[in-house]
Every structure is written in C-alpha cells, then in structure tokens.
C-alpha cells in the first residue's frame, strides 16, 4: 500500500452563470497515488458532504479519456501538467505529498459557467451545426473498402477525428480562440470524399460561427496543441485556412 498524501486544494466556486465566483480552499489528507484526479475530487466532495457543505460541481462522464466531458484547468494548465492526457486520466502519482493545486473552470466568454467548475460548451455544438456534418445520403454502412481513400488521407482524417471536443484548446488559448476545435472538424471531413461536396460551404459557415459565438482570433500561439488531450496538431488550423481561401476563390 502506498502512503496517503496531503494535498492542499484551492478550487473555484460559483453559484450560477451570473453569480460572483470565488475560491474555496480545503486540505485533503487521504489522497492516494493511484487515484485519478477526478477520484481525488470525489474524495473532496465526500468530505464536504460529511461537513454538511455543498459539493463542488465538475463535469465528467467516461473517465477514460474518450468523451471529452472533463475539462479542468489545473494549476493554470488545461487538463493538468501531463501532455496528451485528459484530466480524468491524470493520476495523483504526478503530485507530491504537500502539493498545492489550484483548480479553475475553462474561462471563455463563449463558455459561460453553469456552476463551480462546470461550463456550458454548447457553443461547440452550434459550430458543428453550422456545417460539421455530411448531408448527402450515404445509405447504410458500406463495405469499408468500396470507396478507395489514400492511406495518408484516411490516417489524417482519423487523427483529426479523434478530437473529443473537451474545449481545452479554448481554455488554454490566450485569446480563447476555437480555431483548433473548428479546424479539426473541418480537416477531418475535408480529408474524406464524403465531406468533399460541402467543403467550401462548411468552412465558411463554421468559421463564421466561431466568431458569432464570441471566440477570439487565433494568434498562432499553438498552446492549444500543447494541451490537447489527443494531441491534435495546429496543422488542422492550416487546413481550415487553406479551405477558406479556396472557398473565397471558387
């Protein structure tokens, strides 16, 4: 058995979208190195409830790094200190006994806080609704190889499709830009023949929607790539820009 660790937590509390937020602090003495970051928060909430206090709200679903629900900003880094890991997969063995950890929600005007660490990411849904789909009738699933697709393209499309929509890119971007998310969705569909037909319409509509939702401009900081739990490259943003220019001149 590993020894229990003491962790000093400081986390964001906010009653609702328009309420004034503040930090609350609590020290946990029974943190185990095998716990995930979210399990550590479960322990926090159990203790808070035993004290008759309100638990801290935080988002999660799968806890295995695939759903994109979790999106905490931990000591100023989206999903915490490790590269290519969602915070549900971040283990407490990355911390030492006595560490201080500050937990904040992703902060962006386009992601209003619902409560505590939970934010409303429906702005992403509306970007998808603007054009992140294929509307041609493709019938039921076909035999996988009936449409020949170059391996290079299918690999890239897959890489971009791994975006789990967690919003860490927005959280970490100094401008709160949604370019990596939007670029990944555009690049993923644009690499496949099924997505080709609506390629121009898609890029224009989705790029407009980013702005409409109040996300900032991209300044090429590439911080989004650094925090992306699935490691999506800012090359996705290059794909988006190229598609946009093609759309203008088509």
């Amino acid at each position: 058995m590993s020894k229990d660790m003491t962790i000093h937590l400081k986390y964001w509390k906010q009653a609702g979208p328009d309420a004034q937020g503040y930090f609350e602090e609590k020290t946990l003495n029974t943190v185990n190195e095998h716990m995930s970051f979210l399990e550590m928060l479960d322990v926090l909430n159990e203790e808070l409830q035993l004290e008759g206090k309100d638990p801290v709200e935080f988002d999660y679903d799968c806890r295995e790094g695939i759903c994109g629900s979790c999106n905490l900003v931990i000591n100023g880094q989206a999903h915490g200190p490790k590269e290519k890991v969602a915070c549900c997969q971040l283990h407490m063995r990355n911390y030492k006994d006595g560490d201080h950890i500050t937990i904040e929600p992703p902060k962006a005007g386009a992601f209003p806080i619902i409560k505590d660490l939970v934010v409303d990411r429906s702005a992403f849904d509306r970007i998808i609704e603007a054009g992140g789909y294929v509307s041609v009738k493709t019938g039921s699933a076909q035999e996988a190889n009936s449409i020949p697709i170059e391996k290079e393209h299918s690999d890239l499309a897959f890489d971009y499709a791994t975006c789990i929509g967690c919003g860490a890119c927005v959280a970490a971007c100094p401008n709160a830009s949604a370019s990596l998310f939007t670029g990944a969705k555009i690049a993923h569909l644009g690499k496949l023949p099924q997505g080709e037909l609506e390629r121009s319409k898609r890029v224009v509509a989705m790029v407009d929607q980013m702005k409409e939702e109040g996300f900032g401009d991209c300044s090429n900081f590439a911080e989004c790539e650094a925090v992306c739990p699935v490691g999506i490259s800012i090359s996705a943003i290059a794909e988006m820009r190229k598609d946009y220019v093609k759309a203008v001149f088509s």
Partner: protein, 232 residues
C-alpha cells in the same frame, strides 16, 4: 462564395492579412537595410541613393502610400486581435501556465502587441527625425540634393538617439522572431519538420537583419563619425 469583405473580416481572413502585411513589411525592411548600408560606400553613395528615391517623384508617393497602407492595416489588425482577447475572455485565470512542448508561447509571441506598439511610435518619430529633419543640401552630379548623410552622421552621435534606436531594434528582433514563423503558419504551413526549420530561420533572420540595422548607429557613435568605413 463569401464576399471579399466577409472573408477579410472573418477570423481566418484577419490572420492571413496580418501575415501578408507582416511579410510585406519584412521585405521593406530588407530593402531599407540594403539602402542604409550605402552609408558605408563612397562619400556620395548614400546621398545618391536617397536622391534616386526622391527623383522617383509621383511613383515614390505611390510606394509610400502602399507602405503606409500595409503598415496601418497590419497595426489595426494586430491591435484588434489583441483587443478581442478581453472580449473573448472577460475574466482571466488566477493561475496560468504554458504547457511547453509544441507551444509557441514565449516572450516574443506574448509581447507582440508591446513590441508592435513601440515600433509604431518609433516609426512616427523616425520619419519626423529624418524625413522631416534638418534640410542640409549638397551637390550630386551638378544638381542640388538633400545631404541626408550629414544628418545621419550627426544624429547618430547623440547618445539618447542611439540608445533609442538600439532599444527599438532589439524589440524588433523579438517581433520578428515570432512574426516570421507565425506569418508562414498563417499562410497555411503545417506544424511539422518544415515548421521547425522556419522557426530556426526566423531567429536567424531577425537577429541578422536587426544586427545590420543596429550596426549603423553604433558604428557612427563609437567612431565619432570618422571610422575607416566612412569615406570622405
């Protein structure tokens, strides 16, 4: 598809135009340095160079207007992108830290607005300083011309002028160390091996270019305008 106006005001269009205007300005700087270095040529070289430019007449105005347009467009976009941050994130983080790795967040990229704004103020002063500076005259090929060489040699013997120029030129190293790479990225460069080479080139380019500019005031200052590179 989208109208040019819609495209230019989209987030993609704005970034591409920041890149294009930035690259345009970098080409201008290369030309500007090449011209300036003629101060180390024959005694008349610099004044012949400036006279040739001024003799362009109306064409010079067109070039100047184009340059001013690029400069202002770049500035407006840069400032507007920066102002947009407040709107996109009204409330900031208590703690914020870059994750490093593939991130290009560094002193240069984070201070683009500061280096840019100081360059802007500098440029206004720089034009007042030389273009509208003391109107000395000399004779070139039997024609009267401005003796800008004399003005330059005099001005760069003033301590505060030299300190000011060197300071701004060092900030320009920062602006271009990120800007050079960023402009390629804005114009569609992928984040792979080429990108790494471009980043190294960006550092080399900005340091070499600015050392070229910095050399002129420093040389004149420390040789009192009488160094062996200056012919009379």
């Amino acid at each position: 598809m989208p109208s040019i106006k819609q495209a230019l005001s989209s987030q993609v269009g704005r970034k591409i135009m920041t890149g294009i205007t930035g690259i345009g300005l970098m080409f201008f700087l290369i030309g500007h340095l090449a011209g300036n270095l003629s101060i180390f040529g024959t005694a008349d070289a610099f004044n012949i160079y400036t006279k040739t430019l001024m003799d362009l007449g109306p064409l010079l105005y067109v070039i100047e207007a184009g340059l001013a347009f690029f400069f202002l467009y770049h500035t407006v976009l840069g400032v507007s992108i920066w102002l947009g941050r407040r709107k996109a994130r009204p409330e900031g983080y208590n703690t914020y830290k870059s994750k490093g790795g593939p991130s290009h967040q560094n002193l240069a990229s984070r201070s683009m607005i500061i280096s840019g704004s100081i360059i802007f103020i500098f440029l206004v002063l720089h034009i007042i300083h030389f273009k509208f500076g003391a109107d000395y005259t000399t004779m070139i090929d039997g024609e009267q011309a401005r003796d800008l060489r004399r003005l330059v040699l005099e001005e760069f013997q003033k301590t505060w002028v030299v300190i000011g120029y060197v300071f701004v030129l060092l900030l320009a190293v920062l602006h271009l160390a990120h800007g050079f790479w960023s402009a390629f990225t804005s114009l569609g460069m992928k984040h792979g091996e080429t990108s790494k080479k471009i980043q190294v080139t960006a550092y080399a380019f900005s340091i070499i270019l600015m050392l070229g500019f910095i050399f002129i005031p420093l040389y004149i200052y420390f040789t009192g305008g009488e160094g062996s590179l200056i012919s009379y």
